[in-house]
């Protein structure tokens, strides 16, 4: 579904990603973890070209996303992206947030988009907030709306960039349970997250990144019980030390 081959990314003199080669299969849930500044967010942001890469190739659904002539907007709408800071549109109601892209990008009718929005909001448990505005919602609710908004384009892949890091602890659960139900429905997902419980329970594979390199790819159980790489060991024992 997503193939990274020899991806390199630089911020000026600083190399953020080094020769990243990896694959996410269809229907797979991959959790990317690692210390902050290790390039996790940068890596998933390259998938819909929110970050441009210096060299290498990324294929999504068999399509080279850097192919000349490919229209960025066309493939972006096929990749759902959920941000750490939600980034809902504050001037639009919850329903309008969900309907915007289907109407303006896919050209669907407003009625059709609205019906779909109702169904999606129901799926994330927020049907009763359809007419509210983002600033009237809690962080957890906003993030669930953001997931519904991303789902509205029916993307085959969903990317989550630290979706619970900006939330108060008591709101983390509601967002994770929406993500779990997505995973259960067979959605291909890549999640950058510090939620190790989620990684252990839901993911098919864990990628451990440090300093722009994927150091270890492992099944979650193996990763948490018997990490291969010295630095993943250190990372995990640091987590447990708290």
């Amino acid at each position: 579904m997503i193939q990274f081959s020899m991806v390199n990314k630089w911020y000026g003199e600083y190399q953020a990603l080094t020769d990243v080669t990896a694959e996410v299969k269809k229907g797979e849930v991959v959790v990317i973890c690692g210390p902050s500044g290790s390039g996790k967010s940068t890596l998933i942001r390259t998938v819909n070209r929110l970050e441009e890469i210096k060299s290498g190739a990324i294929h999504v659904n068999g399509q080279d996303i850097h192919a000349p002539g490919l229209r960025t907007n066309d493939f972006r709408s096929g990749i759902g992206f959920v941000f750490q800071s939600f980034n809902l549109f504050p001037h639009l109601s919850v329903t309008e947030n969900v309907c915007l892209a289907p109407v303006r990008v896919s050209g669907r009718s407003k009625r059709e988009a609205r019906e779909q929005a109702v169904a999606l909001l129901d799926r994330v448990g927020l049907a009763h907030k359809a007419n509210s505005y983002p600033q009237q919602l809690s962080g957890g609710q906003q993030q669930r709306v953001a997931i519904a908004r991303a789902l509205a384009m029916n993307p085959p892949v969903m990317l989550f960039d630290e979706p619970t890091s900006a939330l108060d602890p008591e709101m983390v659960g509601e967002v994770l349970s929406v993500m779990k139900s997505l995973a259960k429905d067979g959605m291909t997902m890549v999640c950058v997250t510090h939620e190790m419980g989620f990684a252990r329970e839901v993911s098919d594979r864990v990628w451990f990144m440090d300093r722009g390199v994927i150091l270890e790819e492992n099944a979650p159980e193996a990763f948490f019980t018997a990490p291969q790489h010295a630095r993943s060991k250190a990372f995990l024992s640091d987590l447990r030390a708290h």
Partner: protein, 245 residues
């Protein structure tokens, strides 16, 4: 002073109208509204260039804005008044000259207001929109501009106040706006310039003061509406690492 108002209020309000051309405060307001409305779309265009990643658009719009902001308005009035007729080959009315001048001048100033409005929005708004597959124009039209323009309303009203005062420069090319009318009154009375120009000042002040108050009221309303519930947004929440373990 009251007797001056009593005798001349109509002249100050509408000039010679209906026997002659419209003037006075009415013309001042018409000039100001036209100046604002006509320069607004141009200012959006300039602001888009000023925020553009395309070097040529950015550079040329920046040069334009800096030149206009670095030259006094009355220079533009003179250039328009003396140069434009030479260029187009026939005479141009003072009214048209002043409107065109105001458009050029205000487009540059307003574009800075619009640019500030665009750049004040969080970067995440553009990213969220682009990630949904919306291109540059759709993002501008449906996500950025509605928010930016709404936030800008108080600044635009302040700019409108500036335009009202700027129209008084029309006096030097005999546009019959408020200042011109007051000067006519002064010429009729000959001996009482002080009360006449005090009336003029008070009139400008009242109009501008009311508008400034409106702007402040709107600004408070907008700030109240836009303030997010910060308590729910934690900047970094590494504590949540252990949740679920």
């Amino acid at each position: 002073m009251l007797d001056i108002i009593q005798d001349n209020w109509l002249l100050l309000l509408v000039g010679q109208y209906p026997k002659g051309p419209l003037g006075g405060l009415a013309l001042t307001l018409i000039l100001s509204v036209m100046g604002l409305v006509l320069s607004f779309p141009i200012s959006i265009g300039i602001a888009l260039c000023r925020t553009s990643p395309i070097r040529f658009l950015y550079a040329s719009s920046t040069v334009l804005v800096y030149i206009v902001r670095g030259v006094p308005l009355v220079m533009f009035v003179f250039w328009g008044y003396f140069l434009v007729p030479v260029l187009v080959g026939h005479s141009v009315t003072a009214f048209t000259t002043l409107i065109c001048t105001l458009i050029v001048y205000e487009s540059a100033y307003l574009s800075e207001v619009v640019r500030a409005g665009i750049q004040a929005l969080p970067k995440g708004q553009v990213e969220a929109s682009r990630a949904l597959g919306m291109g540059y124009w759709k993002t501008m039209l449906w996500v950025i501009m509605p928010q930016a323009l709404y936030d800008m309303v108080p600044s635009i009203i302040s700019q409108f106040v500036s335009i009202i005062k700027e129209t008084s420069i029309g006096y030097v090319i005999s546009v019959q706006e408020l200042t011109f009318s007051a000067n006519q009154v002064n010429n009729n009375l000959l001996t009482r310039p002080f009360p006449v120009f005090l009336i003029l000042a008070i009139t400008y002040f009242l109009v501008c003061f009311v508008l400034t108050q409106c702007a402040q009221h709107l600004e408070r309303t907008i700030t109240r509406k836009r303030t997010p519930k910060i308590t729910q947004l934690r900047s970094i929440a590494n504590d949540s690492v252990l949740d679920g373990q």
